[in-house]
């Protein structure tokens, strides 16, 4: 079969042509650049590592089996993808990948949901998956379809930029912000401001790892989960002596799940609203500057905060804050807050309708939240494992249009909430949802199990988190209605490995995938983590109690619940019962149901949930959670490559002026990229770039080529001096060639320096390169 280009296919061109004018210019540029990067990568012009981080920053992850190998239960087989090209180190170009769509504070309109449903149909598998950080993911995507997807998303005001990679990830917030009965104030507008301010901000481009921010409207409720975040902001309304109320945030840093959990540390108990963006920016700058870059397992801010101690860390941030030049955006957003005040579509009801429908009553009990606004409720739509099909999604957006004003949000428990439903409409909403199988009861209960992608699609998955979650959900659902309330309200969360994407540490009963050797066979297992707390913003973490074979877990859970019910004292919560009973006793009591039968007795234990292959761990690949650490210099050089590519296209189509201008711009970008090794704040001004390049790279001879010496720098200098001249075709052609050579030399210089040949210190803390007198 012949492989035709997807990125330049007719369908891709259609979206480019019809949508480009409608896009935010900055977003359009990001997407156009990414498309060019794809073309350049296909021509072998971008390194695998750099391309990997580029796509990750646009939300395009790798997926399991993308190294081109798959174990079929007996032996490892190659997947014969048609091209040899890679989209990252050991990541095949043609292998399907995942796209993460960023939904700040989980907000989405009916129109946006419709578009995502269409994308799922046309580029994925008609499944939209809600993640544990309020995003939506599509799986099995070909990388070359991404630009079309991005354009269609941007046309409805969604970006995927910085959904993955070493960047500020989705800014999450309580899904009931604004309607919550207990919040200090509505944090939605603030969450949006944080998202907007940091998106693509130069100060967040040079992190060693990802950076996650969450906002919560109050301290005691679970929704925001600020305690488990790199940066957590909890709303505080402070009464003032004059009777007014001052808004601000409790500011915590350095929390996190992952293999080793960290509690966030209190940075300040009150940061006034007008100071929040400035302080966040300063925090990011300190993290970029001092955070670990090489050892990625130590690169999250939690390690920096732990190593420095919160007091020293605070000092560094405040010092940085004092130096920041004022940015009007720090406070401009305050005037936009009223925009986030939602209004109902329908009139307020007068109480939840009385019916003789027991299923409705039960659903109301678990899935309906009375808002602080009288007569309105928020409805939770429980999604099994966070999945919803395209047809369901479209039907849901119609229901939303009928009853509310674009007030849907995703939740970290992988559900969707519809806010502002009039009580008078509730029974109709329920029936409409029932028609599309979205009226399952049990939100935020023991059947509403959270699961990360696990071995289904994640390269790091050890055991099948979704398989286990599906099995537990099916079994528990049968008994759900009759369950004692104490058991019904427990939460189960499952991750496929210790990275904790499924947030098992903050579940009453959590699991993360491990493998164990049983009499010479590798058997899928999960570590059981008991007694974590979802309340108090992810208030405390569970205790690892021991490994249990995947296939034994349903029986173990049954017995555990039974033990708790029988053994708990009046009002005793699960965590307290676990602590009082002790891990040892619990595990001992579970021994009879957790034993693994011998291979010859029962082979089923040797195959994971949701799999028919005998279990092995060989499918695991290199994860991309961290992204690739790509320096600002490398990004600068890539931008320059893109510019020269464009210049050539312009030249070929006879647009000589643009070709000449772009050729110069490419040199400027490359020089600026090199300067970023020493000064990340280098301005865009061509004169300043030239001056710094001359001082740091030319006068210091850092740039000099071992053979050609300073020659190539002169191409840039010449181009700079003549940048306003009108070039004829010949001169433009020459500039194009010179620019190409200069770019090549910049790449080589970067390579020499990163290999240490120049002993020039690379990094933003380095003092000026002028000290170096090495002759490369």
């Amino acid at each position: 079969m012949k492989d035709l280009d997807l990125v330049s296919s007719e369908s891709a061109q259609h979206w480019k042509k019809t949508l480009s004018d409608r896009l935010d210019p900055k977003w359009r540029e990001d997407i156009d650049n990414f498309e060019t990067d794809i073309l350049l990568k296909k021509k072998g012009k971008i390194e695998d590592r750099v391309f990997a981080e580029t796509r990750l920053r646009m939300g395009a992850y790798g997926q399991r089996y993308d190294n081109g190998h798959r174990h079929d239960g007996v032996e490892m087989k190659n997947i014969p993808f048609p091209t040899d090209l890679n989209k990252g180190p050991e990541t095949k170009w043609d292998a399907p990948g995942m796209e993460r769509i960023k939904l700040p504070w989980g907000g989405m309109t009916a129109d946006q949901l419709d578009v995502m449903a269409e994308l799922a149909e046309e580029y994925s598998d008609s499944i939209l998956h809600i993640t544990t950080r309020q995003d939506i993911q599509l799986h099995y995507i070909h990388i070359e379809n991404c630009p079309s997807m991005f354009r269609r998303l941007a046309a409805v005001n969604i970006t995927t930029r910085e959904a993955c990679g070493n960047s500020v990830r989705n800014v999450t917030a309580c899904p009931i912000a604004g309607v919550c009965r207990e919040e200090a104030f509505d944090i939605t507008g603030y969450a949006n401001a944080v998202f907007k301010y940091l998106l693509g901000h130069p100060d967040v481009q040079d992190f060693g790892r990802k950076f996650k921010i969450a906002l919560s409207g109050c301290k005691h409720n679970p929704c925001g989960l600020t305690n488990i975040h790199d940066l957590g902001l909890t709303a505080v309304a402070r009464p003032q002596p004059d009777g007014t109320v001052k808004r601000g945030f409790e500011y915590v840093v350095g929390g996190g799940l992952g293999a080793v959990t960290y509690d966030a540390k209190l940075f300040s108990d009150f940061v006034p609203e007008e100071e929040v963006l400035a302080l966040t920016q300063a925090t990011c700058r300190v993290y970029a500057r001092l955070g670990e870059k090489k050892k990625r397992h130590r690169a999250r801010i939690k390690f920096l905060v732990a190593d420095m101690g919160i007091d020293k860390f605070r000092e560094a941030v405040l010092e940085e804050r004092a130096k920041l030049p004022n940015d009007p955006r720090w406070t401009d957003f305050l005037a936009t807050l009223p925009k986030f005040e939602e209004k109902p579509l329908r009139e307020a009801g007068k109480g939840i309708p009385k019916t003789d429908d027991a299923a409705f009553d039960f659903w109301c009990l678990t899935n309906v939240y009375p808002q602080k606004q009288d007569g309105f409720v928020t409805v939770t739509i429980t999604l099994p494992m966070g999945d919803i099909t395209s047809n369901q999604a479209r039907a849901l957006s119609d229901i939303a249009r009928k009853y509310v004003k674009d007030t849907m949000r995703t939740t970290v428990e992988q559900n969707i909430v519809m806010r502002w439903v009039s009580e008078a409409d509730l029974y109709n909403v329920y029936n409409d949802l029932k028609l599309i199988d979205l009226a399952e009861p049990g939100a935020a209960s023991i059947v509403d199990i959270t699961a990360c992608p696990g071995t289904d699609t994640c390269k790091l998955g050890v055991s099948s988190s979704r398989g286990l979650a599906a099995e537990l959900r099916t079994r528990l659902a049968v008994k759900f209605v009759e369950m004692d309330e104490a058991v019904r309200n427990l939460r189960i969360k499952v991750s496929g490995c210790f990275n904790s994407c499924g947030q098992q540490h903050i579940a009453d009963i959590g699991f993360y995938g491990i493998s164990r050797n049983v009499a010479g066979y590798i058997v899928p297992h999960f570590q059981m983590v008991l007694g974590g707390q979802f309340t108090n913003n992810g208030g405390s973490y569970g205790l690892a109690t021991g490994g249990i074979a995947s296939k034994a877990i349903p029986a173990v859970v049954d017995k555990l619940l039974d033990m708790y019910l029988k053994g708990k004292q009046k009002g005793e919560i699960f965590r307290a019962w676990v602590e009082r009973t002790g891990k040892g006793v619990i595990m001992q009591s579970l021994a009879d149901v957790s034993a693994v039968p011998a291979y010859d007795t029962d082979k089923s234990y040797y195959t994971d949930w949701g799999s028919v292959r005998e279990y092995n761990v060989k499918d695991k690949g290199m994860g991309e959670c961290a992204g690739e650490v790509v320096s600002l210099t490398e990004f600068g050089l890539k931008a320059a490559d893109r510019e020269i590519f464009d210049a050539q296209l312009k030249y070929d189509t006879g647009d000589i002026k643009a070709a000449g201008d772009k050729a110069y711009k490419a040199m400027l970008l490359a020089a600026q990229g090199l300067v970023k090794m020493f000064n990340i704040d280098i301005s865009e001004d061509p004169e300043k770039v030239m001056a710094e390049f001359r001082e740091r790279f030319y006068d210091s001879k850092l740039f000099f080529d071992p053979i050609a010496g300073p020659t190539y720098a002169n191409f840039y200098f010449g181009g700079h001096d003549a940048r306003n001249e009108i070039l004829d075709k010949e001169k433009a052609g020459r500039r194009l060639k010179e620019a190409q050579i200069f770019l090549e030399a910049c790449h080589n210089c970067n390579l020499r320096m990163s290999m240490g040949a120049n002993k020039g210190k690379v990094g933003i803390l380095a003092d000026a390169g002028s000290k170096s007198d090495s002759k490369a």
């Binding site: 007719e10 798959r70 079929d72 046309e122 799986h139 099994p384 999945d387 099909t389 028919v612």
Partner: protein, 190 residues
Amino acid sequence: MNLQYLNWKIHLENPAQAEPDEWFKVLSTWIPDAPEIFIDVADYKHVPDGPVTLLVGHYVNYSLDATGRQLGLLYDYKHPMDGTNEEKIRSSLLGLLRVAKRLEDDAGFHAGKPKFKAGEIRFIVNSRAIAPNSPETLEAVKPDLVKVLEKAFGVGGFTLDRPADPRQRFSVDVTAKGTPVLADLIKRLA
């Protein structure tokens, strides 16, 4: 119009018997040593009105599919194809029928052995850019589609109907007169 991303769906005669877990097992056995490029099987039996059990390939996905709440086999060609529209329609339809036949014959099925309605199939263009769901698209597609279908079902041997919901992808339901047999259709189209 350059037709691409062609999908076909053939409905099950015995939907109540379909066992997603059995499909999962059978489709999994197709992966090793296949001449096609297959990646994995995905299990979506927990959601309605969409894929149920999905064999993900590089060029084509095959799935037990419940979209529109009708169970059937979905054949989803994901990459741009070469050739004339007629040729693309023919080869993709042939692809669907061959897979349907292979499933009917697969010894891995037990209780839920599939049986397809060879006279009830749906043609879908999985691209809103190429084929908006409009009467104009139908007019543009019809000549080539009819040529292929006439080969399979004979002249006048079928009716066409386009479901009109503009938010759905362009699709055409093909209903054959009589009760055609899979193997015959394959022979006629090959």
